[in-house]
């Protein structure tokens, strides 16, 4: 099948050669449908490029790939309204960032306040954000604004190893590290009035974006199944051009076990973001009691989901892998909450401390382009080592505060340097490419006010 890259000339020129190699490899996997797609933010990943999308048909020998989902299963972004404006926040910014930094566990070595029992763990893995709401973290109404209504069906905790569960025991409600963050942002531009109105966004509004995933549990599931699938591939007659493309037929026992475990990982991520939402609400209540943190939407960008897509005029049930790519259902799709249904699914594109984030909306065209998928972030332009040599964390924090008024808190100055905004691609160019190619349309731009860096 063909491999297709969506990006403008400058992004394509700056893409590493590995993206082309990897997306071509994906296009050769058994049972692939139509084509393998790379999003405008694509970069070198593990087997699949990050920013890779591919759909497989189980009836045609199609596969499921642990590398096509990634280590951080269901990593994603959720965006919350605050009911406040930039002017409301400005005088309280410092108190707010300090309160958030105290209340949201972030960075290596941090632990959550929830310690799960064995049965609690299994209930969480089955229930996702719905479980978290039942435990008192947030409200029932939140669930309407989460993909899968907050609970991925078909999760099978029995396929999640004891090691994976042990890694998660004390990690519920933690941000993690690396590119994960919690940002308070303001809406700095509106591009589509109708969609912005449906999403409840106005110029000057303040929102909170939370970027994190399934923590240690997801990482362990990815680690274990990647190796198991790589070793088993010859047994299934699958000739892998790259071991990291490790996969198994959807209809095999191993494929089904991974699906059950991966879906449990999705629920872990959804529960994790729900708990962090509750912590965020409490932190805001301390500093800005008038704040009303309602969920705009929660999107995952490392997943494999069963979806209906039209292929050559026929509706097919496909296993759509999105590795560093966001689902972008267009207007009218039944899985979009009714309140947005006429404008398309909110697509949340994360920035990187000093840079913009964007809210986009899925389009009808997106269905034809890449199984209703869009980009997920800026994508790195520079390695961590290069970034560490070029920037110093403390200076960067000072500079962002003095020049852009952005307050940053992080346990690690080295971590801040490695995540410097300049080490990422230009998120605006990535979003423009997604908009112009019809993957999703721009709705609003967000600028950071405060950032808790994991």
């Amino acid at each position: 099948m063909p491999a297709v890259i969506y990006a403008d000339e400058s992004l394509i020129k700056s893409m590493d050669d590995k993206v082309r190699e990897q997306i071509c490899n994906v296009a050769m996997l058994p049972g692939i449908v139509e084509a393998a797609y790379a999003m405008p933010d694509a970069h070198w990943g593990y087997g699949f490029p990050i920013g890779g999308v591919a759909a497989f048909n189980a009836e045609d020998g199609g596969i499921i790939s642990a590398g096509g989902v990634g280590f951080d299963i269901s990593c994603g972004v959720r965006c919350l309204h605050t009911g406040l404006t930039k002017d409301d926040i400005e005088p309280f910014k410092k108190r707010l960032v300090d309160q958030l930094y105290r209340d949201i566990p972030a960075g290596l070595g941090s632990t959550g306040r929830i310690h799960l029992t064995h049965s609690g763990m299994n209930a969480m893995l089955k229930g996702g954000a719905r479980w978290a709401v039942e435990q008192g973290f947030g409200d029932e109404i939140d669930l309407e604004r989460i993909e899968e209504q907050g609970c991925m069906k078909g999760a099978e905790p029995k396929y999640v190893s004891e090691q994976a569960k042990k890694r998660q025991l004390n990690e519920m409600g933690t941000l993690g590290s690396g590119n994960h963050y919690l940002e308070v942002q303001h809406v700095s531009a509106i591009y589509d009035d109708l969609a912005a109105e449906r999403f409840g966004l106005k110029q000057g509004d303040v929102v909170v974006s939370i970027h994190c995933g399934s923590r240690g549990l997801g990482h362990q599931i990815g680690t274990e199944f990647l190796k198991e699938m790589a070793i088993a591939a010859p047994r299934f007659g699958i000739d892998l051009p790259d071991r990291e493309l490790a996969c198994a037929p959807i209809k095999s026992d191993l494929g089904q076990a991974y699906l059950g475990a991966m879906r449990a990982g999705v629920n872990c991520a959804l529960a994790n973001r729900q708990i962090i939402t509750d912590l965020t609400r409490q932190a805001f209540a301390h500093v800005l009691p008038n704040a009303d943190l309602r969920l705009l939407y929660d999107v995952s960008h490392n997943t494999c989901k069963i979806e209906q897509h039209e292929v050559n005029g026929v509706k097919r049930q496909l296993y759509v892998h999105r590795k560093g790519a966001t689902r972008a259902y267009g207007p009218g799709h039944p899985d979009i909450p009714a309140v947005f249904r006429d404008v398309g699914q909110p697509v949340i594109i994360g920035g990187s401390m000093g840079t913009s984030s964007y809210i986009l909306a899925g389009t009808k065209e997106s269905e034809l382009r890449a199984f209703s998928s869009a980009c997920h972030g800026a994508g790195r332009a520079m390695s961590r080592n290069q970034a560490k040599k070029r920037w110093h964390g403390r200076e960067l924090i000072k500079q962002l505060e003095e020049q852009q008024g952005i307050l940053i808190r992080s346990q690690s100055m080295r971590g801040v340097a490695e995540e410097a905004p300049g080490s990422y691609k230009d998120v605006s160019a990535v979003v423009d490419s997604a908009d112009q190619s019809g993957l999703a349309k721009k709705v609003a731009r967000l600028e950071p006010l405060v950032c808790i860096k994991g």
Binding site: Y46, G47, F71, L108, S177, S383
Partner: protein, 141 residues
């Protein structure tokens, strides 16, 4: 860097590659483990006051290397530790190690990033013509 025994990081756009060199496969594995600690913090900041045992089995040396690194990732995650001393023995696909380190101190270690797992990307365990060993892969952070 002394190629006989040492470690390096190599470029990966999103993550980081780690390499260990040595005159034996055990030495290469040891140095790669040190390279992994160096992704998180400066290894010289990590004391060796707690020791644990690690065991892995694989007939394929490359998978054994990934298993070794992932065993360390698991122990770091569940014990909230960093490691800076590694004593490894490998016989017939069986790896037995005593690894020492200390609990993470966020002030002292300034941990830059959490390691999600060792990947199969750029995975290589090989001996060169001079008999020196190399062990490398990309780790997801």
């Amino acid at each position: 860097m002394n190629k006989k025994a040492g470690w390096q990081h190599f470029q990966h756009i999103a993550d980081i590659g780690i390499k260990g060199f040595g005159s034996s496969v055990e030495m290469a594995f040891t140095q790669a483990a040190m390279a992994m600690t160096a992704v998180i913090t400066e290894p010289e900041l990590v004391d060796n006051n707690i020791c644990i045992d690690i065991v892995c089995d694989s007939t394929d040396l490359e998978y054994l290397f990934v298993d070794w690194l992932n065993a360390l990732v698991y122990e770091m995650a569940t014990r909230h530790m960093l490691f800076s001393q590694f004593d490894i023995q490998i016989r017939d696909g069986h790896l037995k190690a005593k690894v020492c380190g200390e609990r993470i101190d966020r002030e002292k270690h300034q941990p830059a990033v959490e390691i999600k797992g060792a990947t199969l990307t750029e995975l290589r365990v090989q001996k060169d013509k001079e008999g020196d060993w190399l062990a490398q892969c990309v780790i997801d952070v």
